[in-house]
């Protein structure tokens, strides 16, 4: 596996940060929906898991998922969501990263990306258990995390996949993907 160039680092961090900005707007958008019912918010919660898988699908390098997730969380924390998002960002990013590693970083399809999102969701659930967000009645627990899991898959699997595909079509990804050996041979 090739070494990271600094470009890779900066682009990954940038992707994470742009997501952090988007999440800020996203959050403002449904801050008002939040208190009403836990359900509605959970449907959109998947957004928070999107950073890592999105970055990995984009750049296809090991470590991107984790770095992007932490960078996004860093920006969120900086903007004022509270320092605990750093913990969430790290754990969620790590969960996605491990899932991608389980497939040897070679698979880049909807299923794998969606699974990575589900893993991130699991990570968030574990953290919630400690924090106390999961001290709910059994049915509420099932609804909340069930919806969140679905949302995770939809956002990180379906949405992230197709948006990365759209970006690939613009050819902006040719700058950041690893170069295959065939490209070198074409020079001879």
């Amino acid at each position: 596996m090739k070494q990271w160039k600094f470009t890779d680092v900066l682009v990954t961090i940038m992707v994470g940060i742009v997501f952090g900005v988007i999440m800020k707007f996203w959050d403002d958008f449904y801050t008002f929906i939040k208190p009403i019912l836990p359900t509605l918010r959970q449907l959109f919660y998947g957004m928070w898991f999107m950073v890592g898988p999105f970055a990995f699908l984009l750049m296809r390098k090991p470590g991107t998922a984790l770095l992007a997730s932490v960078a996004g969380a860093g920006l969120s924390a900086f903007i004022g969501h509270g320092v605990q998002v750093l913990v969430y960002g790290f754990v969620q990013g790590l969960a996605a990263e491990l899932l991608f590693a389980a497939f040897r970083y070679k698979r880049h399809n909807i299923l794998v990306a969606g699974l990575a999102g589900v893993m991130s969701c699991l990570g968030s659930f574990l953290l919630d258990l400690y924090y106390g967000y999961a001290d709910l009645e059994a049915w509420a627990l099932a609804v909340k995390y069930g919806l969140r899991t679905i949302s995770a898959f939809v956002f990180t699997g379906v949405f992230a996949y197709y948006i990365v595909k759209a970006l690939e079509a613009t050819k902006v990804t040719s700058l950041i993907r690893p170069v295959s050996p065939e490209e070198y041979e074409k020079l001879d």
Partner: protein, 255 residues
């Protein structure tokens, strides 16, 4: 430093080493993260709330304003837990709502916890310059330069991204693009904003990385530092303060 972060006056908190401050406050947050003890949490809430309002160097008005989102979070999460939380000693029940002794306790615990962590976050954010923070992380904790400068460089571009977001909104209006409702609409919005915004940002990040390397920036190589971030007596004092606060909170929760 963004404008709202700039303090009215510099306090001792501002002069503390940012990386050490971060580590200490993070430790407090970690302690709060796992506990359910309402007394423990409340003591820390008072201590760090007090620290915020007394020693952060900002006006009370601004602090109250900045605390609002955390108060909001307090209300919403404690309410959710109170109404739907797990519990046996039921006080009132109607349909899916089940208020019990335990659920009220959970609700309060989580609410005060969020508020306390919010206070700590504000104490940190409002007394720390991000540039100095990264310099301190590099010098005190050997944080890799590539991540430090990478983050600083990327954050520098955030205002540009926000402006592009606005431009994109305008452009979509000009082209009379209307979105569907619901989840499909969410996807359309996401896609129509993401593609140009990420395309521009990726290119910019790439250009910036090349420019930085053209200035002889190399990952994993020794360097000198323009902003020197020493440790001082203030840091020892702050460490003592933090330790003290944790001990007091612990003691109260057993008493």
């Amino acid at each position: 430093m963004p404008e709202w972060l700039t303090p009215q006056k510099n306090t001792w908190l501002h002069r503390a080493n940012p990386a050490l401050k971060a580590a200490l406050l993070f430790a407090v947050m970690a302690a709060l993260f796992v506990t359910r003890n309402l007394v423990f949490i409340s003591v820390l809430l008072c201590v760090y709330g007090g620290l915020l309002f007394l020693s952060s160097g900002h006006s009370w008005r601004k602090l109250l304003l900045l605390s609002l989102p955390f108060v909001f979070a307090f209300l919403s999460s404690s309410l959710t837990l109170a109404l739907f939380g797990r519990g046996e000693h039921v006080l009132w029940q109607w349909g899916i709502v089940k208020i019990s002794e335990e659920s009220i306790r959970s609700g309060l615990a989580i609410g005060t916890k969020s508020l306390a962590i919010g206070m700590i976050s504000l104490v940190f954010l409002l007394t720390t310059d991000p540039v100095l923070l990264f310099y301190a992380l590099m010098q005190q904790f050997r944080f890799p330069a590539k991540y430090a400068y990478g983050f600083l460089a990327a954050v520098r571009l955030v205002p540009v991204v926000i402006e592009e977001w606005q431009t994109r909104t305008h452009a979509l209006k000009v082209r009379s693009i209307a979105f569907s409702k619901g989840v499909k609409g969410a996807y359309e919005r996401l896609k129509l904003y993401s593609v140009p915004l990420f395309a521009q940002s990726i290119r910019r990040a790439q250009r910036m990385a090349v420019a930085m390397e053209a200035k002889q920036f190399r990952m994993d190589q020794p360097r000198t530092y323009y902003h020197e971030t020493p440790c001082s007596g203030i840091d020892a004092g702050f460490a003592a303060f933090v330790l003290g606060s944790l001990l007091v909170a612990l003691a109260s929760s057993y008493g």
